[in-house]
């Protein structure tokens, strides 16, 4: 076993909170590192890394490289890319994984150019080829119409971004041991070319599609904005979050924070219930990896039925309220 080679996860933090996708990447990283015989490590740029290390150990990081600097408190592409690229050039990891968040999707392609590495976007599956050390990176392209497996045979590190909710979280314990490795980067030479003036959080907290075990989603078949009430009622009975297709978001029936799909959120609940959604490839791209998919649609030929585990053919205006009543009755 080669204990000097490392697999890294970029530990994205916002306002001192580690992003959920980092826990997912570390969880998948545990499996890959074991297969490869690599050490799983996290890279944490922030203004105070020590306070966040324990959480990273608990999800499998054996080592956390903390890069502390007041300039790294909030994400800024120039500072972050310099810090991460310098660490990569010095420590030469084999693999670096990033969440495909708005931060990861700017940072990773910048770093890729800086360190001469290949970068595979939005992977939905990762595997390790023990024969040659290649990371097998599988991702959808052409809006989900095809899948491609990408390799980077001649460049190290091999880098990939992965969306939230693609991998499951596996916490080992609350008291895992790990090693903090502080790393100093001199950012004084990096010219300040951009400044954040304002950060506004406007999402409605009741949604939380990312964490939801159940999601009930409405599409154009819901008919009009008022009818979303039956979707909300079923969701609240099930303790579910509410999702939506882009057609309903574009029509202004519901805010874009609810949108699921290629240009919305990727979700992976235990049960996804699609009501009056046709199943366009761009919608499927965001929910296809849900454990169980239920589709309610009056058109038996709707493509949503191709990915459904259970399909109910009929009028959602009858089925959805009936579903809610039976769940409520079962609880009573």
């Amino acid at each position: 076993m080669n204990t000097t080679k490392e697999l890294w996860v970029f530990a994205e933090q916002r306002d001192g909170k580690i992003a959920g996708v980092v826990q997912e990447l570390l969880s998948e990283g545990q499996i890959l590192a074991k297969k490869a015989g690599y050490v799983l490590a996290a890279v944490l740029p922030s203004d105070n890394g020590a306070s966040l290390c324990q959480e990273l150990y608990n999800f499998g990081a054996k080592k956390v490289y903390t890069i502390d600097d007041p300039k790294l408190k909030d994400y800024q592409n120039d500072y972050y890319s310099r810090a991460v690229a310098q660490l990569i050039n010095e420590k030469k990891p084999e693999i670096v994984l990033y969440g495909a968040t708005t931060i990861g999707r700017s940072l990773a392609p910048t770093v890729a150019v800086m360190v001469d590495a290949g970068l595979t976007a939005d992977c939905t599956q990762l595997d390790f080829d023990v024969e040659n050390g290649n990371l097998l990176q599988t991702r959808p392209a052409f809006g989900g119409n095809i899948m491609a497996t990408i390799i980077c045979p001649n460049h190290r590190p091999q880098m990939a971004t992965v969306r939230s909710n693609v991998f499951k979280k596996t916490k080992i314990s609350d008291t895992e041991a790990g090693e903090q490795v502080p790393y100093a980067v001199d950012l004084s030479g990096v010219r300040e070319r951009m400044r954040r003036l304002e950060a506004v959080h406007e999402a409605d907290n009741t949604i939380d599609l990312n964490a939801a075990q159940f999601i009930v989603s409405g599409g154009r078949g819901v008919g009009k904005p008022e009818n979303f009430k039956i979707i909300y009622d079923l969701a609240s009975e099930l303790g579910a979050a509410v999702g939506a297709s882009r057609a309903t978001v574009d029509a202004g029936w519901i805010s874009h924070h609810h949108q699921v799909g290629q240009t919305g959120k990727t979700v992976c609940p235990v049960v996804y219930i699609a009501c009056g959604i046709s199943g366009a490839i761009q919608h499927l791209a965001g929910m296809q990896s849900s454990d169980v998919i239920v589709a309610i649609n009056k058109d038996p030929d709707a493509p949503i039925f191709d990915v459904a585990d259970f399909g109910l053919i009929g009028d959602l205006h009858q089925i959805v309220p009936e579903f809610q009543r039976q769940i409520a009755a079962a609880k009573a």
């Binding site: 150019v113 585990d309 009929g314």
Partner: protein, 260 residues
Amino acid sequence: MNIVVCIKQVPDSDKVTIDRETNRLNRAGVPSIINPFDENALEMALQLKDKHGGKVTVVSMGPPQAEEALRTALSHGADEAILVSDRKFGGADTWATSYTLNLAIRKLGEIDLVLFGKQAIDGDTAQVGPGVAHFLDIPTLTYARAVEVTGDTLKVTKVTEDGYEVWDVDKPCALTVVKEANQLRMPSLKKKMAAKKAEIPVWGFDELQPDENKIGLAGSPTKVNKVFAPPVKLNKEILSGEPADMVADLIKKLKERNVL
């Protein structure tokens, strides 16, 4: 303002399918379009030009037929177009694409702003914008929804997961633009006619003088190992009949699966 907009010609990806037996893409007869998000980048450039004057140059790297996308952009109001095309550039991944586009943009001389779509709907990586920006050594902001000129700098609103941020960024800079930003204006008849006749220079290996190890398939760190059709669900169950019976049946089956 001197603005460059990078546009990619893409197949209308809704209509691209994969042959489940041969794992080849069925692209025959699929129309080519300007990448939808690049239309928003173009409109952002045109609005800035309307307000502040200047020039909008569209650049596309691709096979000779990508010229068609450039002519479409001219008909919507772009002033000039450059086609970056050479057999040697073929098979480029985002790294090599970023490098090559960077050379073309440098050749254009002084610029204030480079705009990209949020992502291309075929490759779907969203990596080219930040890549080009780093090669050009200019700052980059992704997911821009609005931009305002404030003296020497730009005030940019960018979308985040749960809201938005406002940034002040030095010129020149690069932005990738989201759909919410705007809608591309209609082409005018006059511009359409002019676009048909416009001279579109083609810049290839000789014009750009690239480092041979950084272009095309050979200069690309990532390799597509295989492509295949997305998996389909087996064992699916279709229920029909009276709503009450269907729902009862569904609840029973969800319980059997231990998910309810």
